[in-house]
C-alpha cells in the first residue's frame, strides 16, 4: 500500500523542495532590491498598468525588431500555454492520477492538448533558430566582451533546457498515444487527448511491449516535471529572471520624458540656502544629520527600481547595439552596466548571508571594481539604450548617478570638463566668453 503511494510521496517532496528553494530565492531578490533607496513609482496607475499590458504582456517593444520579436512571442506564448498543462501534471503527480482534466473537459481537452503540442513544436523551432542566431550567424551583440564565459554559456544552457523540456513533453505524449493506440485496454491510460505533433513519435513504439512504453512515458513525464522544477530554481542564478520581473519592471518604469533627469533634492536644499538672502551664514551646522552622499558609487546608492532593472535584464544587448559609443568602439556597453550592477548586488547579497545579515565592507564597490571611469565618460546621454530596451530598463540613470558621484564626491571629471564647468561658473557659458557679450550677435543683424 505504502509502496503504491511512493511516487506520490516523492512527487510531493520534490514539489515542496522546488517551491521552497524558489521562495528562498525570491526572498533573496527582494532583500537585495530593498538594499536600494526607496523611490515612489506608484503615481499614474493607469499609465503604469497600461505600460505593463503593452510592453510586458503585449511585447510591443520586443517586436520592433521583427525577427527576434516574433520568435520571442512564439516562445513566450508557448511558455504560458504549456504552463496550463503543468497544472494538470502537478495534480496528477500529487493525486496519482493520469490526465485528470480529461474527463471534465471532454472535447475541449483534446483541443487544449493539441494546441500545447503545436506550441511545443513551434517553441522547439524558435529555440533552435535562436541558437543559430547566437552560434551560427553569430549576431554581433551576442559576442561582445561582456558576454564571454558564463553569460554565453548561461544563454546557451537556457536554450538547451528548452529543447530538452519540449522534447520530453512530446516524447511523453508520443508514448502515451502509443499506449492508447496499441494497448487500448491498458489500465490507467484512458483514451484522452489529441496529438497533432507526437502522432509522428507514437509509431516509433509500435511492436514494443506495454511495460517498455509505459517506462518511457513515465521517464519522460518525470524528467519533464523535474526539469521544470530545476529551471524554476536556475532562474536566480541565470540571466533569465525577465520572465517574471519584466512585469513589475515595466510597471515601475519612469513615465517622465526621457530627457528629464532627476534633480537631486539634497542639492536643491543647499542651493536654496545659498541663494536665500535671509539665511544666517554663521548658523550652527546640524551635526546629527547624516552627511548625504552625492550620486552613486555602489549598488546601495542606487534606487530600488534601478536594482530591479538589473535583475530584469536578460542580456539581449539591444541597448548596446544601439549605443553610439559602443558602435564606434568605445568601452561603454549599457548592457554591461546592468550586468555589473546585478553581479555586484548579488555579491553584496552573498556577503550579507555570510555575515549573519550584516554587510561587511569587502573593499569593493560598483564604481571602479566593476564599471570603469572610461565607460562612464563615454556616454552621450542620448537615451538610445533606454529606447531600445524591450522591458524598459534604464541604464542611463545609473551612468548619470555614477558621474555625479565622480564629480561631486571625488572631483574626478576629465580636465576638459573641469574647464567647461569653471567657464559656466565664471562666465555663464561653457566657453570662456564674457557674459556681457552674449547679445553681440544682435548688432550683426
Amino acid at each position: 500500500m505504502l509502496l503504491d503511494l511512493l511516487p506520490n510521496i516523492i512527487f510531493i517532496l520534490l514539489l515542496l523542495t522546488a517551491a521552497g528553494f524558489f521562495a528562498k530565492n525570491v526572498g533573496r531578490i527582494k532583500r537585495n532590491i530593498y538594499l536600494g533607496k526607496s523611490i515612489d513609482r506608484t503615481d499614474q496607475p493607469k499609465e503604469r498598468w497600461g505600460n505593463m499590458a503593452r510592453i510586458a504582456l503585449g511585447q510591443s517593444k520586443m517586436v520592433k525588431r521583427p525577427i527576434a520579436g516574433i520568435l520571442h512571442v512564439v516562445v513566450y506564448v508557448g511558455f504560458i500555454l504549456i504552463n496550463i498543462e503543468l497544472l494538470e501534471i502537478v495534480v496528477d503527480g500529487i493525486v496519482g492520477t493520469h490526465r485528470i482534466f480529461a474527463p471534465f473537459l471532454g472535447g475541449f481537452y483534446n483541443i487544449l492538448i493539441a494546441s500545447f503540442e503545436i506550441c511545443a513544436a513551434l517553441v522547439l523551432i524558435a529555440v533552435i533558430l535562436f541558437w543559430c542566431r547566437r552560434n551560427v550567424i553569430k549576431i554581433q551583440r551576442f559576442w561582445k566582451d561582456e558576454m564571454k564565459g558564463w553569460p554565453k554559456l548561461d544563454a546557451d544552457l537556457i536554450l538547451y533546457f528548452e529543447v530538452v523540456l519540449m522534447g520530453l513533453f512530446l516524447t511523453m505524449n508520443g508514448a502515451d498515444l502509443a499506449i492508447q493506440t496499441y494497448y487500448p485496454d491498458a489500465p490507467h491510460y484512458a483514451q484522452a487527448g489529441s496529438f497533432p505533433v507526437s502522432q509522428f513519435i507514437a509509431p516509433l513504439f509500435e511492436g514494443s511491449d506495454l511495460s517498455s512504453i509505459i517506462l518511457i512515458e513515465r521517464i519522460a513525464w518525470w524528467m519533464h516535471i523535474i526539469g521544470i522544477f530545476f529551471f524554476l530554481n536556475y532562474l536566480y542564478y541565470s540571466k533569465h529572471l525577465h520572465i517574471l520581473l519584466a512585469f513589475p519592471n515595466t510597471f515601475f518604469a519612469d513615465l517622465r520624458p526621457k530627457g528629464q533627469f532627476n534633480n537631486n533634492a539634497n542639492v536643491t536644499a543647499e542651493v536654496q540656502l545659498m541663494m536665500d538672502p535671509n539665511a544666517d551664514p554663521y548658523a550652527a551646522i546640524d551635526d546629527s544629520a547624516e552627511v548625504e552622499k552625492f550620486g552613486a558609487s555602489d549598488v546601495m546608492d542606487l534606487n530600488q527600481v534601478q536594482l530591479l532593472n538589473a535583475y530584469t535584464c536578460t542580456e539581449c544587448g539591444r541597448c548596446t547595439s544601439e549605443c553610439p559609443a559602443n558602435q564606434t568602439g568605445k568601452k561603454l556597453s549599457p548592457r554591461k552596466v546592468m550586468m555589473d550592477t546585478r553581479d555586484r548586488l548579488t555579491e553584496v547579497g552573498n556577503n550579507i548571508e555570510k555575515n549573519k545579515g550584516q554587510f561587511v565592507d569587502d573593499g569593493k564597490q560598483l564604481l571602479g571594481d566593476y564599471i570603469s571611469h572610461e565607460e562612464l565618460w563615454a556616454c552621450t546621454s542620448c537615451n538610445a539604450c533606454v529606447e531600445a530596451c524591450p522591458v524598459d530598463i534604464d541604464p542611463l540613470s545609473i551612468i548619470m548617478e555614477m558621474r555625479q558621484y565622480l564629480v561631486m564626491e571625488e572631483s574626478a571629471a576629465p580636465s576638459d570638463l573641469n574647464n567647461m564647468m569653471s567657464n559656466i561658473e565664471n562666465n555663464g557659458a561653457p566657453w570662456p566668453f564674457n557674459q556681457q557679450d552674449r547679445a553681440n550677435w544682435a548688432q550683426e543683424l
Binding site: K258, G259, F261, P324, T328, A413, L417
Partner: protein, 260 residues
Amino acid sequence: MIKVSTLAECMAEGRSPEILFWVGCAGSFDERAKKITKAFVKILHNAGVDFAVLGAEESCSGDPAKRAGNEFLFQMQAMTNIEIMNAYEVKKIVTTCPHCFNTLKNEYPELGGKYEVIHHTQLLRDLLDDGRMTIAEGTFKGKRITYHDPCYLGRANNIYEAPRELIKKLDAELVEMKSCKSRGLCCGAGGAQMFKEPENGKKDINIERTEQALETQPDIIAAGCPFCNTMLSDGVKNKEKEDSLAVLDLAEMIATAKDL
C-alpha cells in the same frame, strides 16, 4: 537693421512680450550657431512675433554641467535663471537649442520655473499653420534633404514631426537615414561630450553619423540643434564634402527660402 529688445528694455517701456527667445550659449557665442540665431530672429521679426531676449542676463541653462555630473552647478544656474525669468514674469519660451529646451521644459519646473517651452521648429511650424508666415516655393524645391534627429528633441521629448513638416513645406524631398526618429543615432555631442575629447575607440561618433547621412546622397543635411550642426559639419569636412553638401538648421533654410 532689426532691433532686438531685451526683457529689461521691455520692462522699462512697460511692455511684456508674448514670448522669450532663449538664445543659448552656442547661439550667443559660437560663430556657426550665431548664424542660426540671426536667421531665426529675422523670421520672428518678419512674421511679426512679439518677442524679446534676456541679453546679458541669460546664463547657461546648466545642461552640460548636469550631464557631466555637477548637479550643484546645474541647480545654481537653474535657480539663477529662474529667479530672473520669474521676475520678468516669463510665460512662454522658444529656443533653438534642444538641450536648453529639454532642461527648461523638464528640469526647471521642479525648481520653481514653470513656463511653456517650445522648440523653434515647433514655433515655425505653428507660424506656417496659422498663416502668420508663408514660404514661396523655389529655393529648396526638389532638393534631397535628410534630417538628423537631435536626441534631446526626438527620443528625449518625442518631437519628430515638426521639423519634418517644415522640410515638406519647403517642397524638398525628405530622405530618411537608416537610423532615424526614435532610433536616430546621436551626433556625439550630448552628455557634455561636446566639451571633451572622446574616449578611445575605432571611430568618432559624428563620423559614423555623417556616413549614415551621406548614404542618403543628400543635397542638404538638416539639423535642429547647434551642437548637432557643429558635429555634422565637422563630419562633412572630414569627408571633404563641404563644397557639395551643406549642413543647415531649419531656421536657416526657411530664412533663405524667404530671402531674409
